[in-house]
Symmetry: C2
DNA sequence: GTGAAAGCGCTAACAT
DNA sequence: ATGTTAGCGCTTTCAC
């Protein structure tokens, strides 16, 4: 009945006699005793907490990721702290400070950027941070990301196979590696087309307005592509909006596609062709990696996983897909504009 | 230069001579010293942490709320732990246990239900939990919610003023007070119409499929209303999808409206008339209340705030609005045309 | 006004 | 195999 014996029992330490263990266990149940994470944290320096860094939790991709992260973390007894960085290195640093003070067992950076190396330094070594969504710019880090280049090339090939040659790409910000990789995959396929293909590239953000603006500027320049890829679904939605406003029909006059396969993309109101990321897996594995390397098992090995995305073809690129599924009745909306 | 003096300085305690205080402050800066929240938590029982309970973080309303909560919490030095309850009382209880063990300074329950009283009990008194989004079923609690009944009646009156008399309402689950209140506001206005009005009510969930199902069943019964209200925007989107599938035009043949005014509602692709909640205020004030009452200033007063929502009229009910107001940033579009 | 000492609930040596 | 002891970094009496 001494403190340390109880401690040993709780932690499943070997050196306890079966009998005492059971007696202790019994009392624990009786008293509904639960060890205090706080006290543990004071000793060990780590609390059962995971930090999740995202640029903007309101961007539909992140809630889905957060949900998956949260579920897996919870399963393992960890709480998830959400941190909205706005892609601002200063905010990021402040958050990391806070998370360190809180003794977070690990940090998942889902919105990395050029400051990744600084992040690794700030968290106290590569073992304490796991990157996801965007491949880290810092070398030798743990990460789990989608193969964005593959996704982009698959998507571009899909458009090419439909006969498109003048294809527009509304790129994301240059600081985001996932945006860059998607652009890269696009470029690669377009390059293969040689003189036959024409790639129109506009740089923007991850937001809806970015897609709207791109279409607008192409229209002004009188060089609207026959197919447009948005760096993510949000941007693609912006593209759809602008096309719709300009009374252009999709996919007849212009085909549109995005990335992420956010829930909205699958709505028949949108029917957006998109490169589906396995968001669930990203979140789940990010947690696993974070907790594995953080557990200090003296591992020196980095864990770096790349998950292949899939192409989800819908009405905005392939008309017939739209027929199989209920076609969006353009009349109701286009008459209004 | 003694521990307790430093402690006094850090906490801004009065009993320190100006000179010593400044000297200590100086050294603190020099050493970049930050008090350990963990050690503090061990003593005080509370860590700078806020728990946010939501039914489903992937439901677009909650990320927006979470963002607002997160921003305000951060401003005050608190971390936000997201908790996905799935509207399951068991999950909720487990989360509360975890949050207590973590010494959370407060809990914001954004997805309350019939178990609210149990929640209050589990967290250890009304002072430690703030309800938002759904008015709590337990009496004498802190909360900040929208006036759902008002929102619903305003919306219904809008439809009536457009000439609608047969109006459908796709209700939410009965356990959610916000859903009930919305239904109530609807009923009230319809009752005023007497024999002239006809209210068709279907119960469902907060998800897209719920809206789809409602329309299908009305169609099967051959009693489709001329206007349909979804208990939230997600459901309204489901309604739109089903109508679209049935080749019915919106708003000519059927008008549609929702609640929350989620970002998507404002997209020209959807243009959904919706009752706008001031989500930012809900989140911000929830945090303020949570931290205020939790600070133990011996307050006995409950804080209960009700915020009036606004009606955002768009194309799904009013045809002409589509003409007037193409999109949020109209400029981008008008320049394009 | 300041310092000394006890203790929050644990873990990790070190005894026994 | 179990008990004792010393902290982890703070706050909080209680002396001075």
């Amino acid at each position: 009945v001494s403190v340390s014996t109880v401690s040993r029992v709780v932690r499943g330490h070997a050196d306890v006699q079966k009998e005492t263990r059971e007696r202790v266990l019994e009392v624990i149940r009786e008293l509904n005793y639960r060890p205090s994470p706080i006290a543990r944290a004071l000793v060990s320096g780590r609390s059962p907490t995971l930090g999740l860094l995202v640029s903007d939790i309101a961007n539909p991709f992140y809630p889905q990721l957060a949900k998956s992260v949260e579920r897996e973390a919870r399963r393992r007894g960890y709480a998830v702290v959400i941190c909205n960085t706005d892609d601002d290195p200063k905010e990021t640093q402040q958050y990391i400070e806070m998370l360190r003070d809180l003794g977070a067992a690990g940090i998942i950076q889902a919105s990395g950027g050029p400051d990744d190396a600084a992040v690794v330094e700030a968290v106290g070594g590569w073992q304490r941070v796991t990157f996801t969504n965007r491949r880290p710019t810092a070398k030798d880090c743990n990460y789990v990301v989608s193969d964005n280049e593959l996704g982009a090339s698959t998507l571009t090939e899909h458009l090419v196979s439909l006969g498109h040659r003048r294809i527009g790409f509304v790129a994301g910000p240059d600081y985001a590696t996932n945006a860059r990789e998607r652009l890269q995959g696009f470029r690669q396929v377009m390059a293969r087309l040689g003189g036959q293909g024409q790639a129109l590239i506009t740089e923007g953000t991850f937001e809806v307005t970015s897609g709207r603006r791109a279409v607008q500027s192409w229209l002004q320049a009188g060089e609207l592509p026959t197919a447009i890829i948005g760096v993510n679904d949000q941007v693609a939605v912006g593209v759809l909006e602008a096309l719709h406003y300009a009374n252009l029909t999709v996919p007849d006059q212009v085909a549109v596609a995005g990335f992420d396969d956010v829930e909205l993309a699958d709505s028949t109101l949108v029917g957006l062709t998109s490169v589906r990321q396995h968001i669930d897996r990203l979140g789940r594995e990010a947690v696993q990696i974070a907790l594995q390397t953080t557990s200090g098992k003296g591992t020196t090995r980095r864990i770096q996983r790349v998950i292949a995305p899939e192409l989800a073809v819908r009405q905005t690129t392939n008309w017939e897909v739209g027929l199989q599924r209920p076609a969006r009745d353009a009349k109701a909306f286009s008459e209004a504009s």
